[in-house]
């Protein structure tokens, strides 16, 4: 028994997306509530229908009990949170589908909320931030083996992985640039995007280097905002406001020895220059009963441009080590590429809400209402961040398999 086609995403909603700190004086909790109400309204549902919360670590901006109390959820039948540090937005929707297919709940909300006013993700592994900084990492016995070298932000750490990929496979900065530029082109057509200016190859190579080989445009944005999605049973989904986006498959986790990944750097040699997603991808395709060839649009977590390339390899859109050439050949462009990627502008150029905008875009692609709509899109892949385990992914489909 699997959860294939037992649940469907029927509502998506979001606050406006803000540059870091600009969402004040709203509280994160308040943004979460606004996003949930917008998603319920989109589905033609109300708070009275909600009976579950399936989240990912940072997702709520507060506690589930307080959220249920303040929002007036009549009866909570399921709450769960995918653990981890960056990989879980897609997986939180998978968690919702698991709850629904097992009969524990019928209408589950997944949320991602982010406010970086007090501190910032860019320095999230730094041992010292402003007083009370939410994202600074106090020294730990394990962190002592990495912080003294000066690795204090995720971008620096992923730069180390990217460097290794370049060394092993000849991947070039031009390849990273293609990810940044193609994503920007998609963002430019969208009113919701924070970055709408043209990005040229010259702009890319003239940008300041942040953590070699990553320059400014290889880094995602630092944003505030909230995105919510509502998942219900497949039966119920057919009677709601929009065509359902069926949850065809989902997986989360990863090899234990991928572990804390960038914050320990001891991952096995044969997968060091990867996204950590290979075991998750394998199980996703097994559950789906098909491989990447059936996917029409891929919403690939893009905190740092090289990691898009590494995920394209790990999900089998191209061979390991071939990702650079694959993107350089125009494969990820919309329109016209063999597998359009991040048609919404991604974390790099639309907004960084830790990957939940990717889920929202996948739903809109399945409805046929996306701003950059892929013609006749029937299957969308959404991945969560390459990070410590669990990483995660979910496949949404316009029609059930059977």
């Amino acid at each position: 028994m699997t959860l294939v086609d037992k649940a469907a995403v029927v509502g998506v909603g979001a606050t406006p997306y803000y540059k870091r700190g600009r969402s004040l004086p709203q509280t994160p909790f308040e943004m979460a509530g606004k996003a949930m109400l917008a998603a319920l309204d989109d589905a033609g549902l109300s708070v009275a229908d909600v009976d579950g919360l399936a989240l990912y670590s940072f997702g709520l901006g507060g506690d589930t009990s307080l959220f249920a109390q303040v929002m007036g959820i009549p009866e909570v039948r399921f709450t769960a949170m995918l653990t981890g540090g960056g990989g879980g937005a897609a997986g939180s929707v998978g968690l919702a589908a698991a709850a629904i297919s097992s009969g524990m709940a019928e209408c589950v909300v997944s949320l991602m909320t982010l406010q970086q006013a007090a501190s910032r993700f860019g320095a999230s592994f730094a041992p010292k931030g402003k007083p009370g900084a939410q994202y600074s990492a106090p020294p730990t016995p394990e962190g002592n083996f990495i912080q003294p070298a000066g690795l204090m932000g995720p971008g620096q750490m992923f730069a180390v992985l990217a460097q290794r990929h370049m060394h092993l496979y000849g991947t070039k900065r031009e390849h990273f640039a293609e990810v940044a530029i193609s994503t920007r082109e998609n963002a430019r057509r969208r009113e919701t995007s924070i970055m709408r200016d043209e990005l040229t190859l010259d702009d890319y190579f003239n940008a300041r280097m942040i953590a070699d080989p990553l320059c400014l445009f290889d880094f995602c944005l630092e944003c505030d905002g909230a995105v919510a999605v509502v998942t219900v049973t497949a039966e119920r989904a057919r009677d709601l406001a929009h065509p359902p986006a069926y949850v065809r498959a989902t997986a989360h986790g990863g090899h234990g020895r991928w572990g804390q990944a960038i914050t320990w750097m001891g991952m096995p040699d044969d997968e060091y220059a990867s996204s950590g997603h290979r075991p998750v991808a394998k199980r996703l395709w097994e559950m789906a009963g098909h491989g990447p060839e059936a996917v029409d649009v891929a919403l690939i977590y893009d905190h740092f441009s090289p990691m898009v390339i590494l995920q394209l390899e790990d999900y089998g859109f191209c061979g390991v080590g071939e990702g650079g050439e694959f993107v350089a050949d125009g494969n990820i462009r919309w329109p016209g590429g063999s597998i359009p990627v991040n048609t919404h502008g991604g974390n790099l150029s639309e907004a960084y809400i830790i990957g939940m905008t990717h889920v929202k875009e996948a739903v809109e692609q399945m409805r046929g209402t996306a701003v950059n709509q892929v013609d006749d899109a029937a299957v969308a892949l959404v991945t969560g961040g390459p990070a410590s385990i669990p990483t995660s992914s979910v496949l949404l489909a316009r029609e059930p398999v059977s």
Partner: protein
């Protein structure tokens, strides 16, 4: 690259604060004496870094602290140009490197590179350990090209 001749710097001492637990303390105590020791499982002979309560291979706990000469090779690195904290403004560029230690079943130690020009840093380059004395009782590993 125009900054190829620039000398690598180091992250500031005040950001280095060790908080050892019972499993990592022997490592740092030896480091303060400028000795590199790596815990090796007494049951199966597997090395592990960082030191931890269990052997990931056989789940046994006991370790022998084996001395290592600190010679290794750069497995990967980044050159940090942008200070993510104001405290780092006077420290860039610096070069965190992941260094693989031979004869340790692939254990990697992470340290900033010193005595090197940015343009000379390459994956695979042989490096040797240079202990950085931060303050009394606090010494951390850095690496420089092996001559």
């Amino acid at each position: 690259m125009t900054d190829a001749k620039v000398q690598a710097r180091l992250p500031p001492e005040e950001l280095i604060n060790l908080v050892p637990d019972v499993w990592t303390r022997p490592f740092w105590e030896a480091a303060a004496e400028h000795r590199l020791v790596i815990p090796c499982c007494t049951a199966c002979g597997t090395y592990r870094l960082p030191p931890s309560a269990f052997c990931w291979k056989c789940q046994a706990q006991d370790v022998e602290w084996v001395e290592h000469d600190g010679n290794g090779a750069v497995y990967s690195f980044t050159i940090v140009h942008h200070p993510v904290l104001p405290d780092l403004a006077d420290s860039v560029p610096y070069v965190p490197a992941v260094v693989e230690l031979p004869h340790t079943n692939g254990c990697r130690l992470i340290g900033a590179l010193v005595d090197v020009e940015l343009g000379d840093v390459k994956i695979g380059m042989p490096v040797e350990l240079v202990w950085r004395d931060v303050r009394e009782g606090t010494t951390v590993p850095t690496f420089r090209p092996r001559r």
